[in-house]
């Protein structure tokens, strides 16, 4: 099962904290093609630590592509060169012996760097906390089968809900827009019958907070969809825009009335 190891040159972004200026630092590694990208970094860190040096800070958790914790820009691409996977699912067999690999954090005004490859994505949660839910107290729910939902609708809502909140869409966008992320949540809830009562209030509130947090606007380059590890479709952005317009029209109508 032993495969020939790869010799690689890594250029990794090091930055002490959010207030300091960072730079790329070179590291040479030898790694098994069966290792994952993050296991390569684990090994590098273990070597640094055994020399008493500070390891490279990067985040990861489930290492199965579902928790959304990991996220590196590898050779200019969020989550690396292979489509529809998170960084933790990238394996070294996708690189060649002798390659040079550039490793950077996700970069966006709304995602400040904390240290090395770690960024602060708490802005995402602030948007979700501004109405990204269905108000349903425990104890008051009707029997689950009393709400009929066509299979196609449930399935489309699921596709939107499968967002892992990693932020690759923002990192991929030249405007650092969060439209794909926000529209995925708005579509998940807005497609379902349970989400109707708060549908228009929700879209207005979430978009307002999104704008306040410094995310850019959408100019339809679709880089977000291309880099999304779950392949979330930009059609949800169009859906959100329609809902937003409808919400504004409703609001102006009620003002006139």
């Amino acid at each position: 099962m032993e495969s020939k190891k790869l010799n690689l040159k890594l250029k990794i972004w090091r930055q002490k904290n959010s207030n300091s200026v960072g730079s790329f630092v070179d590291y040479n590694v030898t790694v098994s093609p069966d290792a994952s990208f993050l296991e390569m970094l684990d090994e590098l860190n273990n070597n640094l630590e055994s020399q008493g040096l500070e390891p490279i800070a990067f985040e990861s958790d489930c290492r199965e592509g579902i928790c959304g914790t990991c996220g590196l820009v590898i050779n200019g691409q969020p989550h690396g060169p292979i489509p529809r996977i998170a960084t933790c699912q990238l394996h070294m067999r996708n690189f060649k012996d002798g390659d040079t690999i550039w490793v950077e954090p996700f970069r966006a005004k709304a995602f400040p760097v904390i240290k090395d490859l770690m960024v602060d994505r708490s802005a995402f949660d602030k948007i979700l906390q501004a109405g990204g839910y269905i108000s349903s107290n425990v104890g008051g729910a009707p029997d689950a089968n009393s709400i009929l939902i066509p299979k196609e609708v449930a399935s489309e809502a699921f596709d939107a809900a499968s967002c892992i909140g990693c932020g690759a869409c923002v990192a991929a966008c030249k405007n650092a827009s969060a439209m794909l992320f926000v529209s995925a949540k708005i579509s998940h809830l807005g497609l379902l019958p349970q989400g109707q009562p708060e549908r228009y209030r929700r879209v207005e509130r979430m978009i307002k907070v999104m704008d306040e947090l410094g995310f850019g606007s959408c100019t339809n380059t679709y880089a977000c969809e291309a880099e999304c590890p779950k392949g979330i479709s930009v059609k949800f952005i169009a859906r959100m825009n329609r809902d937003y317009l409808a919400a504004k029209l409703k609001a102006s109508k009620s003002e006139v009335a």
Binding site: A57, C62, A141, N145, L192
Partner: protein, 636 residues
């Protein structure tokens, strides 16, 4: 002297919870706001508890070491969630779910708790649907179900292979609503490092701010731990990188009893270890064993390509040993059988892996059908291993997955420390010696949505606990203890890395306190763990400082705890002279190799109290079975 009182209500099992709810004291709505409750952890149990306590009007402070509540490891659960809805009209009932869970747990769980779990299971599905969880549906718009191991009915609700994700996003959304309304305050990137106990009651916690390194104190009328299990004591497991035992272990060191620590679940279908650099093991859904056949070569160290090994030289050992259950034998049995053939040297290329082969299924059903059934799993496999499972058999091996043991709690989910509640995988309560598939999600949400909101009120109304200022000397003392520990870890400056020592501990645990245990091995494990603990405290190297982000320091604290917990797991396994569920003692088996349970002497919960210098005192809670008569499990 600790006296264990399980507080199981009297009466018929089907009326216990209803009567108990009526007898519990209430806090009037206007007074709820005056109470502050700390919840640690934001997985299914923690997020659902935070949301529900917030809805009731309590002032909730919720803590997670993640950057976002949604990262908690419940997110990675694949298969589904059980509920006794009987939507399929196939004979399911609360009693059947209760019965299956008690039997699946090999008669080492409390009947009253398990019955209540089954009783509230249906409400969980109602609640999740009302929040917008997009469960799988049939064409008519009704909810779809599938079946899972250990059950003869279809009671599992699912959302593709991402059920945990959808349930967690639902619970976190409910919590987000309470954050929006101002009832819950969420503290991210805070790791609980100690519990503050004053006059015998839990009064608060001490956490490390993982960004600034600051040690912070928080006080409350009650503390709820929802911090998950401890499979990462094995280093390699299916748990996420940051899952750890620190919160429950530090609470244990402050007096909370630890129950059944040796009850750990090893899942049979995971990807095998590929090399020294491996960081975790990936679960492959058990459903693959519906069509895949498990085999190894009949010869030791067979280096041939699997497709070159002829039929008559293959040993389909599960089909051979357990003809009636075959490849779908239960988790504990299948895991042990794989270990046995690999220990004989008959694993893949003489190593630790067995084949899971779809060749015959593809021949019988066609590639298209297999692709429809398992396409996404085959893709995951190929992404990780680089091998095409349609052409080459998968390689699998068992891996630590779930821990049934945890902090001891009574029927109210309160530990022996008044005011300290423990919910979800962090407690020991519902799964006995072996958990059934799709039951972990059920328990986490049952505890958080439907149990803690009632029992918390009773504690507050009965004990009328006071709120202690964080300037109290005990808070200061605990904070100093935590700071001293941090300084100590940073000052050792030895030669070995944290991971290096953790891997060595994992090897000891896997070899001697893993799938198969014996007296000699357990005794060796105990002395080796003690030696390794000394080695850690004299020769580990934690670079950097305590004043900013220091991930090595975070890991070092967790490994320090594993080096103590590992010993207790071995002690518990050594004292339990029987085999049951995930605990297999080689000395206690029938002639055919089946587990030999000893109900006469071991039908109890082993709750351990930590004394000074790593001496533990055993307290026993006897288990009685009034409704399900203990029987021998056989799968021949």
């Amino acid at each position: 002297m600790i006296k264990l009182d399980s507080k199981i209500p009297s009466g018929n099992i089907s009326e216990k919870w209803t009567n108990h709810k009526f007898n519990l004291k209430l806090v009037n709505p206007a007074n709820k706001r005056k109470y502050t409750i700390i919840v640690v952890g934001t997985g299914l149990a923690g997020a659902s508890a935070s949301a529900t306590l917030g809805e009731l009007g309590y002032n909730v402070l919720t803590f997670t070491f993640h950057d976002s509540a949604r990262r908690a490891h419940s997110i990675a659960a694949q298969g589904g969630i059980n509920a006794a809805k009987n939507y399929q009209n196939d004979g399911d009932s609360i009693f059947r779910l209760f019965y299956d869970t008690i039997k699946g747990g090999d008669f080492r769980a409390r009947e009253a708790n398990v019955y209540r779990l089954a009783e509230v299971s249906g409400n969980i599905i109602d609640q999740c649907v009302s929040q917008g969880v997009p469960f799988a549906r049939e064409y008519g718009g009704l909810l779809d179900n599938r079946s899972f191991g250990g059950a003869q009915v279809s009671r599992t609700f699912y959302a593709k292979g991402q059920t945990g994700q959808q349930l967690l996003l639902g619970a976190v959304a409910s919590m987000n609503r309470q954050i929006d309304l101002g009832n819950v305050k969420l503290f991210t990137r805070r790791e609980m490092l100690d519990l503050v106990v004053i006059d015998g009651q839990a009064k608060g916690i001490v956490v490390r701010n993982l960004i600034t390194g600051e040690i912070e104190k928080y006080s409350a009328h009650a503390v709820v731990l929802a911090t998950g299990g401890y499979s990462n004591v094995f280093f390699l497991s299916t748990n996420a990188m940051n899952c750890n035992a620190t919160a429950i272990w530090r609470a244990h060191k402050r007096g909370a009893l630890f129950a059944n620590p040796c009850f750990t679940q090893i899942h049979p279908t995971c990807l095998p270890i590929h090399g020294e650099s491996q960081s975790k093991l990936t679960l492959m859904s058990e459903s693959l064993r519906n069509d895949g056949r498990v085999w190894v070569s009949k010869f030791k160290n067979d280096m041939r390509h699997p497709n070159d090994i002829p039929e008559e030289e293959r040993d389909y050992y599960l089909e051979r040993k357990y003809p009636s259950f075959g490849n779908l034998s239960p988790r504990d049995i299948s895991s042990r059988a794989a270990k046995e053939v690999c220990d004989e040297g008959r694993g893949v290329h003489g190593g630790d892996a067995v084949y899971l082969d779809f060749r015959d299924a593809i021949k019988r059903l066609g590639k298209k059908v297999i692709e429809e059934r398992y396409g996404n799993l085959f893709e995951i496999y190929q992404t990780i291993t680089g091998e095409n499972p349609y052409e080459v058999p998968m390689k699998i091996y068992p891996a630590p997955h779930y821990t049934m043991g945890g902090l001891w709690v009574d029927y109210n989910l309160m530990s022996n420390i008044p005011g300290l509640f423990v919910i979800g995988e962090a407690n020991f309560s519902d799964h006995g010696a072996n958990r059934l598939g799709a039951s972990a999600l059920m328990q986490g949400l049952a505890d958080g949505y439907f149990i803690i909101p009632y029992t918390m009120g009773d504690y507050l109304a009965s004990y009328k606990p006071s709120l202690v200022e964080t300037s109290h000397p005990e808070f200061e003392k605990v904070k100093n203890d935590v700071e001293d520990l941090t300084k100590r870890l940073l000052s050792i400056k030895g030669k070995r890395t944290v991971d290096d020592i953790h891997k060595q501990l994992g090897r000891i645990m896997w070899d001697k306190v893993g799938m198969s245990r014996n007296e000699k091995g357990l005794k060796e494990a105990i002395s080796q763990i003690r030696e390794l603990r000394d080695e850690f405290w004299s020769n580990v190297n934690v670079p950097g400082s305590g004043n900013d982000v220091n991930q090595t320091l975070e890991r070092a604290g967790r490994v320090a705890d594993y080096l103590e917990l590992g010993e207790l797991m071995a002690i518990d396994a050594l004292h339990r002279n029987e085999s049951c569920g995930g605990h297999f003692r080689e000395e206690y088996q029938y002639e055919d190799g089946e587990a030999k349970r000893d109900d006469e002497n071991y039908s109890y919960v082993a709750a351990w109290e930590m004394k000074d210098n790593f001496n533990w005192e055993l307290h026993k809670e006897n288990l009685t079975f009034e409704y399900v008569k203990p029987t021998v499990r056989s799968y021949k």
